[in-house]
Amino acid sequence: MLASAATAAAAPNPADLEAELVCPTCDTTLDQSNAPVAQRMKQIIRQHLAAGWTEAEIKADLVDQFGSGVLAEPPKSGFDLLAWLLPLGLLVAGAFGVGIVAWGWSRRRDAPDGDEEPPDRLDPELERRVDAELERYDA
């Protein structure tokens, strides 16, 4: 009883499969397509499910007929693995690049600029003008 309940729970749902497979003539998932070939594919999926096929077996059959482009997600093996790894690699490389640039900017801001010593007091002439302006303001 428990075993049959577990089997029923694990049985693939046609709607899930239709969302994971692509119509070859319209490049949308089967659940979004009413193209004749999509309708035929949905029919075949239901026939296979009724015959007890597993999700993997159904996908394998459709890949055999239409190629791996029928899968909405590329397989995580072989050359198709690149489709998963490349965006991750670019993300890591981008973060690394941004980090390097940010580190460079922060270093440049913190460091004194070459041989020039920062002035510890104002130019006497400027100081005199500032004092004069302040006095005028106070008055």
Partner: protein, 189 residues
């Protein structure tokens, strides 16, 4: 040290921009390649795009190269395509009528289930060669935009006549079809 880091950052940014520019140029130069149908419509001399595909009418494969020296009517179809059913008898009759003169009707079954295609062939009594292109690998190269579509290839492997989009039909395009067959056979028209 700061200068070095800055230069590395600039180099990375430059490489990124150069890569994106390269992709753009590649896409413009090669990504929008027209199919043979578009070249033919512009009046260019076009060699029929090559393919080598599994046969559905028997075991083995068939390539365009093997058909050099024959006049070929190349018909792209699928069993789920309603107009393909209408034209199937016309294509079979054409094959039977001109076969002795060296004409081959070649069906290319695209984006289809093999079992459905074989069932279609039995139902309509097709005896001409049919190859299977489930992935649709020929579609882009030939410039096929829908099903059915029909092309004519002469004995030297060049496309001739006009591409027929839609079913071959007695009222709509029979003249175009017969002219294509005649050009493929090398008859004056």
């Amino acid at each position: 040290m700061t200068g070095t880091v800055q230069r590395v950052g600039q180099a990375i940014a430059l490489i990124g921009v150069a890569a994106l520019l390269g992709l753009l140029i590649w896409k413009v130069a090669f990504g929008n390649e027209d199919g043979a149908a578009d070249d033919l419509a512009r009046g260019e001399v076009v060699t029929a795009p090559a393919f080598d595909l599994d046969r559905l009418d028997r075991d083995g494969t068939l390539s365009m190269a093997e058909l050099r020296g024959k006049a070929v009517v190349v018909n792209f179809w699928a069993s789920w395509c309603i107009p393909c059913r209408d034209e199937a008898p016309v294509l079979q009759q054409t094959y039977e009528r001109y076969r002795d003169q060296g004409l081959v009707v070649l069906g290319v079954d695209v984006n289809d289930f093999r079992r459905d295609a074989r069932s279609f062939m039995r139902k309509f009594g097709l005896t001409y060669p049919v190859v299977y292109d489930g992935k649709g690998s020929t579609v882009g190269k030939w410039g096929v935009r829908g099903f059915p579509e029909t092309f004519f290839v002469d004995r030297s492997g060049k496309l001739v006549g006009e591409r027929i989009s839609g079913a071959v039909d007695i009222e709509r395009n029979r003249d175009t079809f017969e002219r294509g067959v005649a050009l493929a056979l090398g008859s004056k028209q």
